[in-house]
Amino acid sequence: MGAYNTIAFKPEHCDGCNACMTACATAKAGSADILNSRIQIVADGDSFELAMCRQCGDPKCVANCPAAALAKDAGDGVIAWDGSKCVNCLLCTVGCAFGGIVYNAAAGHVVKCDSCGGDPACVKACDRGALNYLTTANIYNEVGDLEDLFVPGLAGCQGCNTELIMRHALRRIGPDTVLATPPGCIPGMGSVGYNGLTGTKVPVFHPLLTNTASMLTGVKRHYKRQGREVNAVALAGDGGASDVGFQSLSGAAERGEQILFICVDNEGYMNTGMQRSSCTPFGAWTSTTPVGERGHGKTQDAKNMPLLMMMHNCEYVATASTAFMEDLYDKLDKAIAASKRGFAYLHIYSPCTTGWRFPSQENIEVARKAVETNFVMLWEFNPRDGLRLSRPLDDALPIDAYLEVLGKYRHLEPEQVAHIEGTVKKNAGFIRSLAEGRHPAMAQAVSGRA
């Protein structure tokens, strides 16, 4: 069974305006009477609840129907109602726990949501962002057919975002690959294996923490000399990329080596016990920037790795987040293509449940909040078109919405929060000016060096 697109509801953004129901009733019944709407927003004290068909994977309505009038479409996942077969027994409404299929007096039979063929009227009518049509399903379906090139049971922490990034990335890149995983969480969870056993189905190796891009240079250059098409790929942590590995990374980027370098940024040395790296943000607790009578977390801002790589005039540079998978896959595809021509650098933010101190089930939500507050900005760069924003930086959520969900910021004083807020605003302004082509640095990066 594949994954399906779905309509998602965020009650905290809903104000009960009924616009969605009006739109649905108009689209489906030709009247504005919300009683005819297939989506029902129901007040529940101070909040709202959604009564609508979830297009379940194991639908009780379909199981209950004695006349085979309901059927789930294997292609788009929508449960369709066939009026020519329906006997009006209403057993389907008894089966549904979501109020997703109900008797409609005007129509004289049950009605339910059909997702408007993939372009739902309700979502278009909601201008508060309470309803979203999530369309990442096609990615999962497409990628689901590709082989997972890591073995099952890598020993990542529960809820690890990095493991998701690894599996998604390598599936897409494919088996004609040599993979470098410098010391850190990625080999630490077993991708290069232990005592003669491997965790990866493609050639994989431990470079030194310092020389990932250089070793890949040698691999790639020799295969090019032999006329063989082999992807040279790094899955490196931020420590191996931004600190001790930066020299070799910078050298390979300057030379335009045909390498895809993916930096999985969990903002520190999480594998070795959560020490600070130069990608650790200001104020963050780490085991080497501890909190005590005098210590209040890291006292410097994070090094902006993707911008530094952009200034190398790489063939492609982008930032990505697992909370925005369509965007991530789009960038992954572009990065893979760019790495056949030159150096491609993909910087993917990877919230760490263990090191950042938040419940493991909230990982994607943390990643999403980082982006929605502009703490993390999604953009891409190539030397021909310059920098392009992947989503607008306007209307960012207040920074508190991100900081308050992470244990590593629990100790922050108001002035530290103000500093972070200032840095985020400054960074957003800078990125925006680059995107608009106003910054002189942009002109330099686009035109290349003399």
């Binding site: 004609d176 040599v178 290069v192 003669g196 190796f205 431990h206 020799h222 000399r225 032999q226």
Partner: protein
């Protein structure tokens, strides 16, 4: 050593750095990674020029430092390339992290060390301290006496390095200043001769990064439980065996070289006028020429003096050294570097340890000279001979003698 000029071979005049570049060219090296450092710089310039001129058909990678030089070659070798580079002194120090890893990965490659004294005091001149500082890392080390030896040894090093019973990296050491810049007549073997001597590369049959035969290269190995401890011992013991197999492989390579190219060098140690010698000098590298002259002068005076040149320093040819020195009364070992822990020269330490296996164990003394580019002249060697003759008479081993102390 006898030079047999064959009609096919070509004589050129060049220095040691150019000779090494010719060797790399003739050995059909696939990949060269370079970063300049005195006194190696002209070597990489020659390589770049040879590539630019179409003489050397190799992938040349100009990287941002020595650490990446060797790291690039690691990747190249794991993909199947015959690889080469050269460095020295601070460059070797900066390279140390991948350098340390190379022999354990059983990676055959050749790297010239254009020997240079180490910092500090700040110095850019010759001395063996750089190469000696890495003598226990697991690389094979060979020291050259002449520019011709630089060329021949560098090509032979590939045959040793890629020998299936060896599979270890080789440092060909040639002295900064004296050999790097000293130009002499050199006979260039023909490509046909070198092709007959050296088979195509086979460097990654055991450990490869190749999608057609996927494997994990260098997973975590060891620990206190499971298969870890015995597996780790197997790797370490295998590395030591490879090192010992190198002794025979080096002798065989020299034999093949003499047969095909017509030039014979001593593979492990060279004994010079050692018949009936009572006193022996032990030397390493380019100083040997002055040492031999001093021995000739002493022989002219009727003194029974000989010289043993150590050509292969790692693995240390224990039996060959013991055999060569067995029977003399005293030995004077001349080093161009220092063992800080023992207040003597490192070659001296090796020699006195090897003498444990000599049938008759002579007394031995340490002499240190030629640091940071200083010359070791026949006069210096004359003093070494005098002091060693005194040792032969009274058996009193004195303090280490610093030859250039009063220059």
């Amino acid at each position: 050593m006898s030079a047999v000029l064959k009609p096919k071979s070509k004589a050129i005049v060049c220095d040691g750095n150019e000779a090494a570049a010719w060797a790399v060219t003739l050995a059909r090296v696939d990949m060269v990674a370079v970063y300049p450092i005195t006194p190696q710089s002209s070597l990489v310039e020659y390589l770049a020029k040879f590539v630019a001129d179409g003489k050397l058909n190799a992938e040349i990678v100009d990287v941002e430092g020595e650490h990446s030089v060797l790291s690039v070659l690691h990747g190249g070798v794991l993909a199947g390339a015959r690889a080469y580079t050269g460095t020295c002194g601070p460059g070797l120090a900066f390279m140390f992290e991948p350098y340390l890893r190379t022999p354990g990965m059983r990676m055959p490659l050749v790297m010239s060390i254009v020997t240079r004294d180490t910092l500090t005091p700040q110095s850019v001149w010759g001395g063996h301290q750089d190469a000696m500082s890495v003598r226990e890392v697991g690389w094979i080390q060979m020291y050259c006496e002449t520019v011709q030896e630089v060329l021949d040894t560098t090509i032979m090093a590939y045959k040793v390095s890629e020998h299936r019973d060896v599979m270890l990296p080789v440092n060909v050491c040639h002295d900064g200043n004296y050999l790097s810049y000293g130009a002499t007549r050199v006979e260039l073997p023909t490509q046909e001769e070198v092709d007959a001597f050296l088979p195509p590369p086979s460097v990654n049959w055991h450990a490869a990064l190749d999608p057609s035969r996927p494997m994990a290269v260098d997973p975590l190995t060891g620990g206190a439980g499971g298969p870890g401890p015995s597996l780790f011992v197997r790797y370490r013991k295998g590395q030591c065996s490879g090192m010992q197999h190198a002794l025979a492989a080096i002798e065989a390579a020299h034999e093949d070289w003499a047969r095909i190219v017509g030039r014979r060098h001593a593979p492990l140690v060279e004994s010079y006028r050692m018949d009936d010698a009572e006193v022996a000098l032990v030397t390493l590298g380019s100083m040997t020429g002055a040492g031999k002259d001093a021995v000739d002068e002493a022989r002219d005076r009727g003194e029974r003096v000989g010289l043993v040149k150590v050509k292969t320093y790692r693995p240390f040819p224990v039996q060959a050294v013991a055999r060569a020195l067995s029977g003399v009364k005293a030995v004077g070992v001349v080093d161009r570097s220092v063992s800080f822990g023992w207040n003597c020269g490192p070659l001296y330490q090796d020699v006195i340890a090897a003498l444990q296996f000599a049938a008759q164990r002579p007394a031995a003394m340490s002499f240190i000279g030629g640091l940071a580019g200083a010359d070791i002249t026949t006069d210096h060697f004359g003093r070494v001979i005098e002091r060693t003759q005194a040792l032969a008479r009274d058996g009193q081993v004195g303090e280490t003698v610093w030859l250039n102390e009063k220059d």
